[in-house]
């Protein structure tokens, strides 16, 4: 008799609606800020800028170049971003020089074709961004200036972080006991599961996520935000997404832009991330 009552109680309790824990909602705020001051006064420069880069050989020909400025660190006077030209894109970084009325960004990047390090100076003055190429008397070339225009960011749900793995530099794995005196720390790395799972286009089921480790789950979630142009507080996230030419950082708050599918997936991803954090390494299932 007692067992019957207990069973009845359990069944009625089971019919109550599931509650979402408050902690998970807070976890919607992404990776905690680590190093960089994210109150850079230059956030107005963040985003994509496109212009026509004059060809050195042929004066009338030009190629379209796009600079995506991801982060300007006013303390260390550095800038990171992405440069796309001729259908190829690469991660670029450089230094920042503050002048009286203008701001100079000097990007350095490796040019595969010419097999040398190139430099490109961008100057921001009076709300306009211009590219500068120094005069080269050796090659008989004059100084050139070309304007850059802001490119409107377009949201594309299908873009992926494929073929690149995220290395979680912030969280080195605990060092295992070893006879060697110095052990190089190792870092969690995402897997190729993230090349095929798109949190913005497919509605995830539990079975899709059950076999993923925490780094993959976090990457899937962060990619949603990256697609919307979220400016990550975490430096590593910024650097990672800058490799992709579809990543255009434009906003520090993209919550209102999230689609219904993305919101559902974020809830599920946060749940699994939290579970991985609490249970993966410990005695238990």
């Amino acid at each position: 008799m007692k067992k019957l009552v207990l069973l009845a109680l359990l069944v009625s309790a089971a019919s109550c609606s599931l509650k979402e824990t408050e902690k998970n909602e807070k976890l919607l705020a992404l990776n905690h800020a680590t190093t960089v001051n994210d109150d850079s006064p230059y956030t107005q420069l963040y985003g994509a800028w496109t212009g026509k880069l004059p060809d050195e050989q042929n004066a009338s020909a030009s190629r379209t170049v796009t600079y995506i400025i991801t982060r300007i660190d006013s303390k260390h006077k550095t800038v990171i971003g992405n440069r796309s030209i001729d259908g190829k894109s690469q991660y670029v970084h450089g230094k920042v020089t503050e002048n009286q009325n203008s701001l100079e960004l000097t990007f350095r990047f490796w040019n595969d074709k010419l097999r040398k390090q190139l430099e490109q100076k961008l100057v921001f003055e009076n709300g306009n961004l211009k590219g500068f190429i120094e005069a080269s008397p050796k090659d008989n070339l004059p100084a050139v200036e070309f304007p850059l225009e802001r490119k409107k960011p377009e949201y594309r749900a299908e873009v992926m972080t494929d073929s690149v793995n995220f290395i979680d530099w912030d969280n080195p794995k605990k060092e295992k006991a070893s006879r060697k005196k110095y052990i190089r720390p190792s870092y969690p790395v995402s897997t190729e599961a993230t090349y095929v799972l798109n949190a913005s286009t497919q509605k995830f089921k539990e079975s899709d996520l059950k076999n993923l480790k925490k780094t993959d789950l976090q990457l899937l979630r962060n990619t949603i935000y990256a697609r919307h142009g979220y400016i990550f507080k975490n430096e590593n996230q910024n650097r990672f997404f800058t490799r992709f030419d579809w990543y255009v950082p434009v906003s520090t708050d993209v919550e209102k832009d999230l689609t219904a599918v993305e919101k559902e997936n974020i809830k599920l991803l946060v749940r699994f991330e939290k579970y991985a954090e609490d249970y993966y390494e410990y005695f238990g299932r």
């Binding site: 069973l7 089971a14 749940r271 410990y282």
Partner: protein, 214 residues
């Protein structure tokens, strides 16, 4: 007649008792997570598909969680020959408790949730098989003592408890495998679903043959 208790090795029974106590404590801590009743706590956090699709899943899951801790209690008393000879009522009482809980609650609920196990078909097969064997061994253990067949009773109950102990060995393997190899969660699970109980059973059989050949 072999009245001696079956010790696992030359190590003192007190050593094994302390080891068992530590793990029993860890299992209590796991059980306590599920108090009070919550449809979305601990392991259920990643079983919401089952919770929402099968109304009987949640109560049966909780039957398993709440009853199984009592099953492990048997480990403290049933394998001591001292208790058996000095306090036979204790052996009988705990024995009955173990048998009732396993046959009526833990094993049937275990078989059901085994059908819904994580880790794909192979894991499901493992857990359902584990539950079924557990039920069968315990049943035979009860049957044999009713017929006063002491040796058989010992054999069946050793097998039964070896399977009950998989609750601990599964989790122990998991923590070790994760520590050394860091595989994906379900890949670990598929392995420990079998590793958790097969070696236990093999070890029990080995010890039984060794002890009873004398």
């Amino acid at each position: 007649m072999n009245g001696k208790s079956l010790t696992l090795s030359a190590l003192s029974p007190w050593f094994w008792l302390s080891v068992f106590t530590v793990f029993f404590y860890l299992m209590i801590r796991i059980t306590v997570q599920y108090i009070p009743f919550d449809a979305d706590i601990a392991f259920l956090r990643i079983k919401q598909y089952e919770v929402t699709s099968f109304p009987e899943y949640l109560p049966i899951f909780y039957i398993h969680v709440y009853s199984s801790i009592f099953v492990l209690l048997a480990g403290f008393t049933q394998f001591s020959s001292r208790i058996l000879h000095k306090f036979p009522q204790v052996h009988r009482y705990n024995g009955r408790l173990y048998a009732y809980v396993v046959l009526l609650l833990s094993a049937p609920s275990g078989i059901y949730i085994g059908f819904h196990a994580n880790g794909g078909l192979m894991a499901k097969i493992s857990f359902v098989l584990l539950g079924a064997l557990w039920f069968w061994f315990t049943w035979k253990g009860v049957e044999s003592i009713r017929k006063r067949e002491i040796i058989d009773h010992k054999k069946w109950m050793w097998r039964s408890f070896a399977l009950a102990f998989s609750a601990i060995t599964l989790r122990l393997w998991k923590v070790l495998i994760v520590f050394f190899f860091e595989p994906n969660p379900m890949d670990v699970y598929k392995i420990v679903a079998w590793l958790g109980w097969i070696p236990n059973l093999l070890l029990a059989e080995y010890l039984l043959t060794k002890k009873l050949r004398k």
